[in-house]
């Protein structure tokens, strides 16, 4: 299943209570943590739970987290890949 990146952004904005941010403001390739969206490690807690809730995909360890959370684009790819398997 192909992940619609706009929908993914909307889910993240809504579930993480990101105020004053629209999907258009989020660069597909910008890092999710540290810079870019400006998320912090506690947002990662929510994000892991959100990904499981909406896509039934688990981020099992730090190595997977590093890959998945690189950017919105890589998160979408991670979800697609793990939904297949």
């Amino acid at each position: 299943m192909t992940i619609n990146m706009e929908e993914l952004k909307e889910i993240i904005i809504k579930e993480l209570f990101l105020e004053d941010i629209t999907p258009g403001d989020i660069d597909d390739n910008a890092p999710l943590f540290g810079g870019g969206l400006g998320l912090d490690s506690l947002d990662a807690v929510e994000l892991v739970v959100i990904i499981q809730k909406h896509f039934n995909v688990e981020i099992k360890d730090m190595d997977e987290g590093r890959v998945a959370f690189e950017s919105i684009k890589s998160l979408a790819s991670f979800i697609e890949e793990h939904q297949k398997s």
């Binding site: 993480l16 209570f17 990101l18 943590f33 540290g34 912090d40 490690s41 506690l42 947002d43 990662a44 807690v45 929510e46 892991v48 739970v49 688990e58 981020i59 099992k60 360890d61 730090m62 997977e64 987290g65 590093r66 959370f69």
Partner: protein
């Protein structure tokens, strides 16, 4: 805890250190005393060595005054030195106790715990449990007494470069009984915490220490003044649905501790990003911690300025 790995800036420096006031040789000396003469011999030397530190090292005295000036406001300088000595003495004894467990075995220290079944039932719900503790009494003794739960424990602790005092399990050659999660690792170890809780395991967090950024902290009244406390544990609980068990210990005999399940907190989901939503739950924890410091004033071991103004 702030759970941050890469978000430090000059405004957000951690405000405490876990480094010991003693040297490597002094620690080894005490470990040797424990092996030779057990607790009594180690305690005996502790009285004299601590007297030197408290009387001769103003920097050591300063570290305990942050707390003592709030717990015993307006006391005389002489009284404060006496209280500082008593506080460090109790702390030193606790460090010796935890080394005794590691070197001589768990059976050297007894722990009373009247809520064994309540805690077991909480763990058996399968949602994972967050043990929220504090630097009060000896949390390591508490954990050493919880083997009956038969559940993996994940401890969120930071070992600083230069830390020379050993945790009790580090005295033993066999594998650590805990999985250690580094709160200053990638994304503050949050992914490991979530997965541990999802597997029904225990994650043990200190509720009175901040790691990394101060962003995930709230100000709460503590002993008459606003102090900084992290809300991270409550956010993890909110996201995972795991209950929080507030666990406190106090020493009430030379070789005896009491463990208390002070409260179980369930944090609802959807409380938002800021600390505001979590504030009532942090307050619950802080009130219990304050009550602990009232009852056991010389078993509260935070030697840094918890009350410093916000950056």
């Amino acid at each position: 805890m702030g759970l941050h790995g890469s978000e430090k800036n000059t405004e957000d420096k951690r405000i405490w250190t876990s480094r010991s006031i003693g040297s490597y040789i002094q620690h080894q000396f005490f470990y040797a005393l424990i092996r030779i003469g057990g607790r009594r011999l180690a305690y005996f030397f502790l009285y004299f060595i601590l007297a030197y530190y408290v009387l001769m090292r103003p920097s050591v005295r300063r570290r305990c005054y942050f707390y003592l000036s709030h717990r015993f406001p307006g006391e005389s300088s002489l009284k404060r030195i006496a209280h500082g000595y008593r506080l460090y003495l109790n702390f030193g004894m606790v460090l010796i106790d935890r080394a005794i467990i590691g070197i001589l075995g768990n059976e050297m220290m007894s722990v009373s715990f009247n809520q064994r079944e309540s805690l077991k039932n909480l763990v058996s719900e399968g949602k994972g449990v967050i043990f929220l503790m504090a630097h009060a009494g000896c949390w390591q003794v508490a954990l050493s007494a919880l083997g009956y739960l038969k559940t993996r424990v994940n401890m969120v602790i930071r070992r600083e470069e230069g830390d020379i005092d050993r945790h009790y399990f580090e005295h033993q050659s066999n594998d650590t009984p805990f999985n250690i999660i580094d709160p200053e690792g990638y994304l503050g170890g949050t992914i490991e915490m979530i997965n541990a809780l999802k597997n029904g395991e225990i994650v043990s967090i200190m509720g009175d220490r901040i790691f990394g950024s101060l962003k995930n902290t709230v100000h709460v009244d503590f002993m008459g003044e606003k102090a900084l406390f992290p809300f991270s544990a409550f956010k993890v609980a909110s996201a995972t649905g795991s209950p929080i068990a507030l666990l406190f210990t106090h020493k009430n005999g030379a070789d005896h501790f009491v463990l208390d399940l002070a409260k179980v907190i369930h944090v609802p989901e959807g409380l938002g990003r800021s600390g505001e939503g979590y504030l009532p739950y942090v307050i619950e924890f802080v009130k219990i911690l304050e009550g602990y410091a009232e009852t056991h004033p010389f078993q509260f071991f935070n030697f840094y300025d918890m009350w410093r103004p916000s950056p």
